[in-house]
């Protein structure tokens, strides 16, 4: 009898039927650190953008203070190691770091992208090509991909533009007609571009080399209230912030729902209107916890 049960269990576990269950891992966020202020105790104000740098460094668009912070994480201690404040960028809302120590910053008032050199000096505005018969670009968000390729969400023309690090146009992908509002973009290690339709509560994907978006997910309206930002990890998993509901939603590389973490609240570990996130290669997720006026760092584990 016992040997029959053992045999049956072995067959069950090794059968193809068991594989989908085993593959759908559940990811969890464990709160690691919080940044409330810089080294001079100047508190963050309305931080709206984060960008993961090499190692345990990341950047924060401290919008309300009109500056970008460089942050170093050591275990559970997050310290601001540098401040970039430029008159050309009075209201930074998105930031990401290049591999050479430079950064790209989206100014919320001008709605245009700027380069900032590694020494913190202004490196000029990035020219996003205008469509032939379309309006001047209005940049809502951007992402840096492999090789520092720049992927830009242009809401005026309803499209995503991919540029090389030297500004050469590589790809233009129009948002599908049924998409209702381009909120954010992300790029994974393979160069797949993910577009977050915030109003339609949907994720679209254009794989490397493709020139059109295809739906990656169905409607996420059952899983979140109002999506705000998206990022991808090295394995192609996606994390989407729920602006109105607090928390983040995790999707698999195929767009399938893999769980929801955190919730609306004030205490550490909780989020209120998480405006942006970045998912580092070292398994850390940094979230701009906008209405809580802070940035929180989480470790991702199964």
């Amino acid at each position: 009898m016992k040997s029959s049960l053992v045999t049956a269990a072995a067959i069950l576990l090794t059968s193809p039927l068991s594989t989908p269950l085993a593959a759908a891992e559940i990811l969890k966020l464990r709160h690691t650190a919080t940044i409330y202020a810089d080294a001079g105790d100047v508190p963050l104000r309305v931080p709206q953008g984060v960008g993961c740098g090499p190692g345990d460094t990341f950047l924060v668009a401290d919008s309300g203070n009109g500056r970008v912070l460089r942050v170093q994480l050591s275990g559970t201690l997050a310290q601001v190691t540098g401040i970039v404040k430029l008159p050309e960028i009075p209201y930074p809302i998105r930031v990401d770091g290049g591999s050479d120590g430079s950064m790209v910053v989206l100014d919320g008032r001008r709605r245009a992208l700027a380069r900032v050199r590694s020494d913190g000096s202004f490196g000029g505005w990035i020219d996003v090509p205008r469509p032939e018969e379309g309006p001047a670009p209005v940049v809502r968000s951007f992402a840096l991909g492999p090789g520092d390729a720049l992927v830009v969400a242009d809401v005026a023309a309803g499209r995503v533009v991919q540029l090389t690090t030297s500004g050469v146009l590589e790809r233009v992908i129009d948002l599908p007609g049924e998409a209702r509002g381009l909120s954010d973009v992300a790029v994974d290690a393979r160069g797949s571009i993910f577009a977050l339709d915030g109003v339609g509560r949907k994720v679209w994907v254009a794989r490397s080399g493709e020139s059109a978006f295809a739906p990656l997910s169905g409607s996420l309206s059952e899983d979140l209230d109002f999506p705000g930002a998206i990022d991808a990890d090295a394995a192609g998993r996606l994390m989407v912030t729920d602006l109105a509901g607090g928390g983040v939603v995790i999707l698999g590389p195929d767009g399938s729902f893999r769980g929801r973490q955190s919730a609306f609240g004030w205490k550490e570990g909780f989020l209120r209107y998480p405006a942006d996130l970045c998912w580092s290669r070292r398994g850390l997720v940094v979230i701009a916890d906008r209405e809580n006026q802070r940035v929180q760092v989480f470790a991702v584990g199964e």
Binding site: Y36, A37, P43, L44, V46, S63, Y91, G108, R109, R111, G134, P135, V138, R140, V155, A156, A157, G158, R180, G181, L182, S183, V199, S221, D225, F226, A244, G245, G265, W266, K267, Y273, R290, E291, N292, Q293, R294
Partner: protein, 426 residues
């Protein structure tokens, strides 16, 4: 046999055949309830004496005329009101089918709900089709908003005063919304011919026969000339279509510019103001821009909004509207769709496009918060949960609603206060 005589024979045979066909039905009825021959219908009238008056009405339901009361009613006992033999919609559908074609674009709610007697008297009526009331009087009994608008309109669309059914199918429309017999402009062009004198001039020479007439005109009536909707975009009212549209090209109407640039010509001050703000409502900046929320020609709502604010804002922010719907305590500005009491619809320097980044200013416009609470607020009170926050109205309340009383973030009798005042937690 002469042809005339042959015809009389055929007619007589036909009468006999019809009578014979009818006889089994009546005989069947008589036999089902073991009635004496010819008693069908008359038995009922023995008690229901006031029915004689119904039989005298101009339009009498055929089974009633034929005395076939048991065609609809179960004479001894029934599980349904009025001793009906089945549920009301099933009874009518026995002879009249579903009255709505499969996949109909619009179906009258009364039909969906099987409420045929909302409009029809099942026995008889002075009005054709057994309608309870004649003409538009019947429809306006339920469609109060249309009635109110007609009562105040100085110009009424002529068919409205004749009969709603000139434009609407009372049961369902296969192809059109709003039970229209045909979609505009096709429906409108049945009466309003483009070649008629004045048509082209009224439309500034633009080819409008492919457009939806109701984008400018209220099909029931309004107090504006040409029954334009209540709020008319000034260029439209002045027939200055060329301000936004290019010259028609092969019957196609084009826009001179796209996005926000189209509106900049007249609304430059507003657009500059929007551009000067840190935060913009993103639909303002996309390819459709102002037309995301505003009708470019005419609208029934102020400010040319495309819909009432609750529906308009809720078309994207359905989560916020749903939160209010679920809320234990209603917040009237949200519940009644007065979104702009708290939010700037175009741009703001405050997050969530609030009118101010100080909640006390916004809430204080309606609530005398200084009289409402002695709890320290603002600079004098750091939120115990987060050193970067001050205690404000939204520290305790969520303005779109929660599952707790007074749309608090927790139970006001315990949990809410304990979030900060942990020292008094047992």
């Amino acid at each position: 046999m002469s042809s005339r005589r042959r015809g009389r024979v055929i007619l007589a045979v036909a009468v006999v055949v019809v009578a014979a066909a009818a006889a089994p039905v009546r005989a069947q009825e008589d036999s089902r309830f073991h009635l004496k021959p010819g008693a069908t219908g008359k038995v009922c009238l023995g008690c229901h004496v006031d029915f004689e008056e119904v039989l005298g009405r101009a339009s009498v339901h055929t089974p009633v005329k034929g005395g076939q009361c048991t065609g609809c009613h179960s004479p001894h006992a029934s599980d349904h009101g009025k001793m009906l033999a089945a549920s009301p919609d099933a009874v009518c559908a026995t002879c009249h089918g579903t009255m709505a074609p499969e996949g109909a674009a619009s179906v009258h709610e009364a039909v969906t709900q099987g409420q045929c007697v909302s409009c029809h008297d099942p026995h008889g009526s002075p009005n054709k089709s057994n309608l309870l009331r004649a003409g538009k009087d019947l429809c306006l009994q339920c469609h109060a908003a249309v009635k109110a608008s007609l009562d105040s309109a100085t110009h009424r669309h002529v068919p409205v005063d004749r009969d709603c059914l000139e434009c609407h199918d009372p049961h369902a429309s296969k192809d059109s919304k709003a039970l229209l017999r045909k979609a505009p402009p096709s429906l409108c062009l049945d009466c309003h011919k483009p070649g008629q004198a004045g048509f082209a001039q009224a439309h500034a020479g633009f080819p409008v026969t492919g457009a939806d007439c109701t984008s400018c005109h209220d099909p029931h009536g309004s107090s504006n000339r040409a029954i334009l909707w209540a709020t008319v975009h000034e260029p439209v009212g002045n027939r200055m279509c060329g301000q936004c549209h290019g010259e028609p090209d092969a019957g196609k109407v084009t826009l001179k510019r796209t996005g926000i640039d189209l509106c900049r010509g007249c609304h430059n001050d507003l657009i500059l103001e929007i551009g000067s703000r840190n935060r913009v409502h993103w639909p303002v900046m996309d390819g459709i821009a102002c037309a995301n929320c505003h009708e470019p020609h005419a609208s029934r709502t102020p400010s040319l909004l495309a819909a009432q604010p609750k529906q308009l804002c809720g078309s994207c922010h359905q989560d916020s509207i749903a939160r209010q719907d679920r809320s234990l305590t209603k917040h009237p500005p949200v519940d009644e769709g007065e979104c702009t009491l708290c939010h700037q619809p175009h741009a703001s320097d405050a997050t969530l496009l609030r009118a101010s980044d100080d909640d006390r200013e916004i809430c204080g416009a309606c609530h005398d918060w200084s009289g409402h609470t002695a709890h320290p607020l603002g600079e004098a009170a750091t939120d115990q949960r987060n050193p970067n926050l001050q205690v404000t109205c939204t520290s305790c309340h969520r303005s779109h609603g929660t599952s707790f009383k007074f749309f608090a973030h927790g139970d006001v009798k315990g949990g809410l206060c304990m979030q900060c005042h942990t020292q008094i937690t047992r």
